[in-house]
Amino acid sequence: MSNESALRILMLEDDRNDAELVRELLEAGQFVCDLILTQTRLEFLSALENDGIDLILADYKLPSFDGLSALKLTLSARPDLPFIFVSGSLGEDIAIETLKIGATDYVLKTGMSRLVPAVRRALREAEERAERKKAEEALRRSERELRQAIETIPAMVWTALPDGSNVSMNRRWAEYTGSSATGMGWQVAVHPDDLNRHMELFDGCSAAGLPFQDEVRFRRADGKYRWFLVQGTPLRDEHGNILKWYGIVTDIEDRKHTQEALRRSEAYLAEAQRLTHTGSCAIDGASGETVYWSEEMFRLFDFDPQQGLPRFDQWLQRVHPEDREKLKLASDKTFLEKVACDAEFRILKSDRTVKHIHGIGSPVLGPNAELVQVVGTMVDITERKRAEEARGRLRQLEAELAHISRVSMMGELAGSLAHEINQPIGAAVANAQACSRFLDSDEPDVPEAREAALEMTRDARRAADIIARVRSLYQMGSSKLETVDVNALIREMVLILHNEANCHSVAMRTELDEPLPHIMADRVQLQQVFMNLMLNGIQAMRNTGGEVIVKSQLGDDGQLLVSVSDTGVGLPMGKTDEIFKAFFTTKPKGTGLGLAITRSIVESHGGRVWATGNTPTGATFQFTLPLKRAAHT
């Protein structure tokens, strides 16, 4: 013990000279000594409590005390202190006995030359002992700490023999499973479906000496299974043989759920994209590099996912040459001004077909308003475009068909219309002749003549009016919405069809709700609807005569309700819906288009048309016209 101060020696000696001799000998041996001299048991015990003592030198025989007792006291109080007997009368057998009890050494006063080496050895050995003890203490502490750490970390830790039998498992295992893992006991906690696979995998890794990893379900104390990740690393000897496995078991149940949910959500998204032909992509805001393309994006633009993410310019090559510039401008705007862009464009597929795409680019900004990414969505709208075109063509065809039907209907009415126009002409001629006669008389009746002339003008105007109305029905025009007074329109149609009705002894009557709000409608188309329904009514009574009643009213639901009823032959039995289908007709020369066109017109105005039979005979056709787009009267 190389204390910087002196070597502290507790000395049990009754002879001062001997004590002095010891000091001299030690000092001669390069020791600086501080001797604490004691003679009695009491003195010895009190000095022994001094922590600074490094060494005890004791005489064997003393007047009131003895060395053997001192040794025993020392061994019990300070077992680490080196204890050397220095005696003049120590027999060989006693010396051996003392060494057996625990003395460090003995030096005979007759051979004091051994003193310094003995002290030196004792001190060295004591020092070594202290060091060892300290090291052992440190090892124990570290082991304790490690054990503690292993027991408390939030994971199961295991060690196992190469055959999988457990050496140990930390208490987390017992806490979780409620059972011991000892031996092969851990296997009872494994899900029956997982055990074989798990063991095969482990045995395989053990045989190959590879790290082991598996996902397996363990049963919790309450009987529920949770997913765990089991990982292990083998410890090998110098020949590479596995001595032992060390590993951990981690609860991945929640992660598994999250992964499953994520996987499902990704599957849903991919499916949604596939079904709606919608691709999505992302481009880095700073570098302009593509960072993400969805599966559908690859499919839409004919790129192979194996070839990696296409660059913007590669993608642009797929775009129809005429649309490239437009798209580039839109994209530049988004990148430079950080605003969303929206564009419709065409792409050329490898099979030379053209597809229509609706693309939207949205900027994603960072905390400092810097452009992080541009997220793009591309929707294939080819089908929609085609449907729109088809609808447009269909509308055109419908208009043409309606026109043809109108013209053919007017053809049927030609005789009757001629009569209708002839009527005011006849009146005008009669008035003109009356006028002449009043003037030619011997006493000219000028007031009567003037009246006749005025009437003549009115008759001529009426003829012109009828011609104008009829002409509009012949015209082929695109649908045009205007403010229409339905009552006025009904009266006009009664006028035009008046003669046709007369011809078949059919009277026409109107019951109009006045005033009715005006509606926005296509005048010519509505005229056609009335003409169809009223002519049908007239023709249904051509052999019997009768009455056509046209009613208008404002319904409670805010729609105009118009009805055209007759007392004719009525509807074909059980076919009240079929009559509205194209080419359905009960007339020998009918085209079967009239009611189909009627329905198409009413529905295009947002209304509904239906037919009901009348009692005892006849039919009533009703239709609604919404006021939604109504203009004020």
């Binding site: 005789g415 002839n422 009527q423 005008a428 009669a430 002749q433 009567e448 008759d459 059919v506």
Partner: protein, 208 residues
């Protein structure tokens, strides 16, 4: 046209303007006109005890002009009918003329054609009236004859002499002579030939 003739021209036309114009035209030639929009209004009216005619539009609401004509004849009303039509319809014209129409005019008609047609109709009407009047008088005279006198008249118009009549009836020639004188007197006949024409008008059966 005689203004003092007290004739009436009836007009049926559902077209108000046409009706007014026709009425005005007939008025300008001094005719008295009564017009109707619908046939039923006319059919319920009692006809005047004076010559009249009907100007009828072929096409009418609820009832066709030809129907009106038929209804009139069914009801025993004898009135000449002039049809007016918007446009010439030959089958209809034939039908109308066959059922006794006076004239069939197409609108616009010449005023003179209408006036002439009306004149012709009224003339026919007058003649009919005269004929009917004559028959009526003969019938009244015939009513005054006794049974024996009616027998004598029948034999007379069959061309038998007085002696032959007496023999047929089993009477004396004197008695037959007296009956013959009574018949000639009561019937206002100047000669057996005239009596024969009267019998014809009365549609008396001939005797062998």
């Amino acid at each position: 046209m005689n203004a003092d003739d007290n004739v009436t021209v009836f007009v049926i036309d559902d077209d108000a303007r046409m009706r007014a114009a026709t009425e005005r035209l007939l008025k300008s030639v001094g005719l008295h006109v009564e017009s109707f929009a619908a046939p039923k209004d006319f059919l319920t009216r009692k006809l005047p005890d004076a010559p009249s005619c009907l100007v009828l539009d072929v096409r009418l609401p609820g009832m066709c002009g030809l129907d009106v004509q038929r209804k009139l004849s069914d009801a025993g009303v004898q009135i000449p009918v002039i049809f007016i039509t918007g446009h010439g319809d030959i089958p209809m014209t034939v039908k109308a003329m066959k059922s006794g129409a006076v004239e069939f005019l197409t609108k616009p008609f010449r005023d003179q054609d209408l006036v002439d047609a009306i004149q012709k109709a009224l003339q026919e009407q007058r003649e009919t009236w005269q004929h009917q009047h004559e028959i009526q008088e003969l019938k009244e005279r015939y009513q005054t004859l006794t049974g024996r006198e009616r027998e004598v008249m029948l034999l007379l118009v069959s061309g038998l002499l007085t002696k032959q009549i007496a023999s047929r009836l089993g009477t004396s020639e004197i008695t037959a002579q007296v009956h013959r004188g009574q018949v000639m007197h009561k019937m206002h006949a100047q000669s057996p030939a005239e009596l024969g024409r009267m019998a014809e008008k009365l549609k008396l059966p001939a005797v062998n």
